[in-house]
Symmetry: C2
Subunit: 200 residues, 2 copies
Amino acid sequence: MSFSPLIRQLIDALRTLPGVGQKTAQRMALQLLERDRSGGSRLALALTQAMDGVGHCRLCRTLTEDDLCPQCADVRRDDTLLCVVEGPMDVYAVEQTGYRGRYFVLKGHLSPLDGLGPEAIGIPQLMTRIAEQGTFAEVILATNPTVEGEATAHYIAQLLSNKGLIASRIAHGVPLGGELELVDGGTLAHSFSGRRPITL
Amino acid sequence: MSFSPLIRQLIDALRTLPGVGQKTAQRMALQLLERDRSGGSRLALALTQAMDGVGHCRLCRTLTEDDLCPQCADVRRDDTLLCVVEGPMDVYAVEQTGYRGRYFVLKGHLSPLDGLGPEAIGIPQLMTRIAEQGTFAEVILATNPTVEGEATAHYIAQLLSNKGLIASRIAHGVPLGGELELVDGGTLAHSFSGRRPITL
Ligand SMILES: [Zn+2]
Ligand SMILES: [Zn+2]
């Protein structure tokens, strides 16, 4: 019972951040209060504006407060390439490789045991996006190199094959069982250049 | 340029938290946006209320939004013992040892090279607090076991000695050069029970 109610409330709220335990939350709360109140207030405002204002891009479904995200709004990008990823963080990772085509952001991967089928992760919207755009010559499946990510890529490749589209899978320069967003940019760039058509 | 302005603003603001770099801030921002908007809004509110509402306890100078902190407001604590620490986090650490006397929280330690003398860290207020309370039989100097913390303890012990008060220093069970708040509770409890009068 050594902290006052408002400080305890702040420590509890900071623990909702990923990777932040009790001790880290205490340090964060007290450091803001003792040394950076304006930083704490700025963070509060940024959180409120983001939580209230950020939705999803109309075309690629990534997080953005605008109708179109920066990648979809950029007219100079390559409209023949579409890269499919599992989440918004992966867009950031793939951008580091120098890729300058378009994106589609799934809501994770297929996970039948959790009841997450094609509809739950946005595969129908992906197919609609591809059909409406009409310019994609190749769809790069950059789901995570995990069992679920592979299965999701394979499922999408099958759907695309039925429509006569080329699907490619990023090369296994990325370590199996890892998360795409944790891979360094160089490795991911290699795995992009080494991508190959999916054989069904 | 892969995140929209509100998301970039949130990532930048999260980096003001201690120990949070660019990649961690990105994960935090996207995880809140994708999975826990209400948690993000709760954090914003907790930050605003704490940054605007938290001041300092009238008696011990620790952080609190009330006139008195929980430790000073508790009438069951021992009014013959005063523990002097360098910051609010140390109050939390000392509480874990089972100590149930009173506290005084300095603003850090003496640091002549940084121009931080006795006034800057609140030593005059400490002496006033001791004089006005009039019940303290022992003052436990629990500043950090660093060169600066030792010097600060020695300086205060000298002032107290001039007034005929007993000053004690927590035993060196705590590792030299470390930070009090990083010491585990057991070690700190040992160092409390092994405290001894300061010989000048
Ligand atoms: Zn978009
Ligand atoms: Zn107090």
